[in-house]
Amino acid sequence: MEKRGEILVENIIFIVLNIAFLSILVIFLLNQGSGESILEDSYSKQVALLIDSAKPGMIMRVNFENAKEVSDENGISFSEILLINDQYVTTKLNEDSGRSYHFFNDINVSSYYPEKNNDGDFTGFYVLTFSRKNVE
């Protein structure tokens, strides 16, 4: 009887270690796929390319839902994750991080703001409006 008990404990430890090992692997994979630096990099580049192809008078609605999830987890306000200034798009999903990308289109991004629903909550979308720059 005692011997059978030993085998059971060993098996349980073996299974628990296996599950722990695989869980760590899955968590690692999920973290890699939704990592801040990857999202910051991809969002800053996507927005820069959108601005490059924009024409005056256009209004764009850009999906930032994945970025919102990460910024909420990191305690960053959704209204502060996107900055467009001096021909650069900067996306910031953490206090200590942030990625910038240059765009060549000399267009005036007249406003960019996070969209809100009727309840005043952020929808996860940003709205960008474009106008012609004043040429002297």
């Binding site: 060993e10 073996f14 994979l29 796929g33 990592g35 490059d52 240059h102 060549f104 000399d106």
Partner: protein, 172 residues
């Protein structure tokens, strides 16, 4: 006893296999996610399209490119950036611009260059003809061409070369 030893031996091998598999997955994931997105191909195409639209849009030549007599205007070359709404200024006093654009207008029959203009960093131009193994570290080039019919029914072949550097932002 020997059976139990065998089981322990299998457990050790099992964990060794798990470690090998995990290491393989970590390496594969790092090689996939470790690289930044390289958007320079798309960026150079957008740049070329923007310049093409600036020169010839909807079947009409930019009114500031040609005089009413059909002669190319020199001030178009001088004001090319402003007229085509381009801004290549980057942060940093001594940072070279990561873009280059070259536009050439060829006569339809004998393909002589009638007018040309270029802006940006022409140091990237040799990268377009380079055939090295690690081409990711070079600038990305895009060549576009189209025919343009003027108001005076002259036809020109327009060739646009657009280049985007930005190696640091798009490769590791």
């Amino acid at each position: 006893m020997s059976n139990k030893k065998g089981e322990k031996l299998i457990s050790v091998y099992w964990f060794a296999i798990l470690v090998i598999v995990a290491t393989g997955i970590v390496l594969m994931v790092n090689s996939f996610y470790g690289k930044t997105y390289d958007v320079r191909d798309v960026e150079s195409k957008i740049l070329a399209d923007k310049v093409a639209d600036c020169i010839y849009f909807g079947g009409k030549v930019n009114s500031l490119l040609l005089t009413p007599q059909g002669v190319f205007r020199e001030d178009f070359r001088d004001r090319f950036m402003e007229l085509c709404s381009l801004n290549f200024d980057v942060k940093g006093e001594f940072t070279p611009t990561p873009y280059y654009v070259e536009v050439q207008f060829f006569s339809f029959g004998d393909l002589r260059v009638m007018f040309e203009t270029s802006v940006g960093n022409n140091n990237f131009k040799p990268d377009c003809n380079s055939k090295v193994e690690n081409a990711e570290k070079l600038a990305k080039c895009n060549e576009n061409q189209f025919y343009m019919k003027t108001n005076s029914n002259k036809i020109y072949l327009v060739k646009i070369l657009s280049i985007v550097g930005k190696t640091d932002e798009n490769t590791f």
